[in-house]
Subunit: 212 residues, 2 copies
Amino acid sequence: MIESDVTVILADGQFPAHPIPLAILRRARMVICCDGAAQKLIGSGIRMPDYVVGDLDSLNMELLDRLGDKVVRIESQESNDLTKAFELALSMNSEKIVILGATGLREDHTLGNISLLSRYAENADVLMYTDYGRFMAIYETTTIPSHKGQQVSLFSLTPNTPISYKGLKWDITERPLLSWWEGTLNEALGDSFTVIFEGGRVLVYQAYMQKV
Amino acid sequence: MIESDVTVILADGQFPAHPIPLAILRRARMVICCDGAAQKLIGSGIRMPDYVVGDLDSLNMELLDRLGDKVVRIESQESNDLTKAFELALSMNSEKIVILGATGLREDHTLGNISLLSRYAENADVLMYTDYGRFMAIYETTTIPSHKGQQVSLFSLTPNTPISYKGLKWDITERPLLSWWEGTLNEALGDSFTVIFEGGRVLVYQAYMQKV
């Protein structure tokens, strides 16, 4: 089920190739591109950006003219293009935000972008879809829809927080996830699972099922 | 400068495409493949694996026959194929280990593999090279060779550890890196930089320079 009231932020990593992020991109109410991602989106022929955010060094003049007031030039060193795009989305009352294109090239950008998701999710309903799965940031006990057999990985951004889960093949009870690998390669047993903790930050990754 | 006394562990992520990891793969003393990575290596025409570790479900019988006693079948659920390969490398007195192919496909595998590097580096001289840069795990104050202008990102796996650095464009003094994005997108000012801390775990990422 892909909804159409979504604001997509297209980051300047690898352009989506999987049918799920591509469908989200096609049906989105609005697409905000981070700088060079605008060129990738236009090159894809899928649609035009609604807004482009960044210092825009990499965009040609003709395109900048064509986009006109859809270009939001912000040169602040205090935040990166993804954060600028997120703030623009918020300022336009986006209720559901999906981040695409945030992974797949430089690994330091991938790590940074994934952790920014956790920061953004404090202020909005925001998810990140990649070519392989979906990241969601949670801050307290949460029950998450799943499919039986779906691969699930959990990453604690507050490594000392005791975490329990139910509904996954490998259960734990009040155990901190000290290393990123400790919560990986789990599997959903049914149509939901629950991650139980208080006052921490956890990322939940769900790999796409074979059957899309 | 690429040394030839290196043991390469080829993980089953994206097969290397960048000239630096490919040169390391070509010149390695020994290559240990994690399961399906053996097929990718053979398919590349670059060389044959020296050892293949894993449950080997994905390899065909003809290949298994051909590899003979180079196949190390370990079905333990307690550790993943990357860890099995690392233990095999250690058992054969590998002094320098390079992990390749550990990123670029499923992001949960990428995160898990990157954090395993930090675990492995406690016991060996081990680095991870990707198509975009190199990860090194450090545990205390360390000076790292660099190139002027090289992009550098730091990730603290012990988010509360106070960290300082010198020789990078954006310096910090005794500040914890609470989120992964906080240490990203820095830049080396010269031919080395120093990361200063005690008793924690930090990952240093250096993007390749344009000039390889």
